[in-house]
């Protein structure tokens, strides 16, 4: 059976000279990020080409995605959400494209790389902190001091709040990473079972058919997970942004 981890291996595609000791060569992971971004660009170029009043199919899908995230920023962040909509949308579209491309056999899943998901998680938190300081100045630290807490437990609560804030990028990164890796490993293992069971004779073929059915079902599930994880990432980015945008009502 093929090694289920083999699909996550990084390979150099285009070697570039190291910068300050860091190897910035384009790997398959970076290549598929670029392909994902290009896909998003091409998709929206096509979807918004006509900007017709009566939309075609492609335009309808583009507008559906637009309104999905627009409603998200609107309902979670509120009126101010408009400013952060492009950021959240880029996150969503980019992650969705990487996840969905990963569903194609032999394509590489960039979001199965912890480096990628961790960077995205840290990016979200960095934006949250930047927006927090830009909007509230030092009042940003009020985020860690919930109102209405008795003062003798306040130190404890503040410590908990700080930890929960610092854990956010970690959970963002691990949730996406875990879902993508887990799904792909399960698919690979089940797919491998189909082959190795099918080689065992009559009884094996029955088992292979059962496993094949499972593989098909899991494939469908993984498509849903690919969409859901991108959506969850966008939702959480909105929630974290809302914390600092509407700090006074926190």
């Amino acid at each position: 059976m093929a090694d289920p981890m083999h699909q996550f291996e990084i390979q150099q595609v285009l070697e570039l000279p190291a910068v300050a000791g860091f190897d910035l060569s384009i790997t398959n992971s970076a290549l598929w990020m670029i392909i994902a971004a290009a896909s998003v660009t091409l998709f929206f170029a096509a979807a918004s080409a006509k900007a017709a009043v009566v939309p075609g199919r492609l335009q309808s899908v583009g507008e559906m995605l637009y309104e999905l995230i627009h409603n998200l920023t609107d309902s979670i962040i509120g009126h101010e959400g408009k400013k952060y909509f492009p950021f959240v949308f880029t996150l969503f579209a980019f992650i969705l494209a990487m996840n969905l491309l990963g569903m194609v056999p032999y394509f590489f899943t960039s979001t199965s790389q912890l480096a990628v998901t961790a960077t995205l998680g840290v990016l979200v938190i960095a934006v949250v902190i930047a927006v927090g300081f830009a909007r509230n100045g030092l009042g940003f630290f009020k985020l860690f001091v919930p109102s209405g807490v008795p003062f003798f437990v306040l130190p404890l609560v503040v410590v908990i709040e700080v930890i929960s804030f610092l854990v956010r990028p970690v959970t963002l990164a691990l949730r996406l990473f875990g879902n993508m890796v887990g799904g792909h490993v399960v698919l690979k293992v089940f797919g491998g079972f189909v082959v190795s069971l099918g080689a065992l004779g009559a009884l094996g073929i029955v088992g292979a058919l059962v496993t094949l059915t499972g593989t098909v079902a899991i494939t469908a599930l993984e498509f849903m997970v690919a969409f859901l994880q991108a959506f969850v990432f966008a939702v959480l980015a909105c929630v974290y942004l809302n914390d600092v945008v509407n700090l006074h009502s926190h």
Binding site: F8, I26, A30, Y66, T119
Partner: protein
Amino acid sequence: MAQTTPELEPGGAIVETPPTTTSHDLHESTEAAEHGSSGLPQFEFGYWPGQIFWLLIVFAILYVILSKLFLPRVGGAIEARAAKIEGDLADARIARDEAERQSAEAAAELAQARARAQKTAADAKAAAKAEADTRNAAEEAKLHERLAAAEAGIQAGREKAMSNVRNLAAETAEAIVEKLSGQAPTRAEVDAAIARNAA
């Protein structure tokens, strides 16, 4: 850490490793085979800077493209549609109001026309009645006149006849008196006697 790996063939040794192998085992087996590289391909930290670098670049470019170019276009189309629907609804509302106004106007005009027609008919009727009345009155007056004339004629005839009768009676009385008394009475005496008897 960043300087370590690129030349390595990462994970090359684990191709034959069964899927059930724990990451701990993987870690050990690969570490034994390849100096310093950890088990999961995701923990080849030597590839991290490149991925992080390109991710940030690609994300930034995609952000600019989407936020400056495509999102405004898609949002513009949605807003244009909403505005168009709103405008069309407003137009329809105006048209409906206009139609309602016109229909009310037409109804008023109709009522007016009907009233005018009714008035004309009533006027005509009244005029015809008045004309007929005057004509009737004239005819009646003429008839009355003729009746009166006829009555007067009849009266005159009767009086004439009566006076003829009286004359005849007077002459007869004269003749009778003359025959009986041999003396002819005067006409005045006869008249007086007739008047006495007639009374």
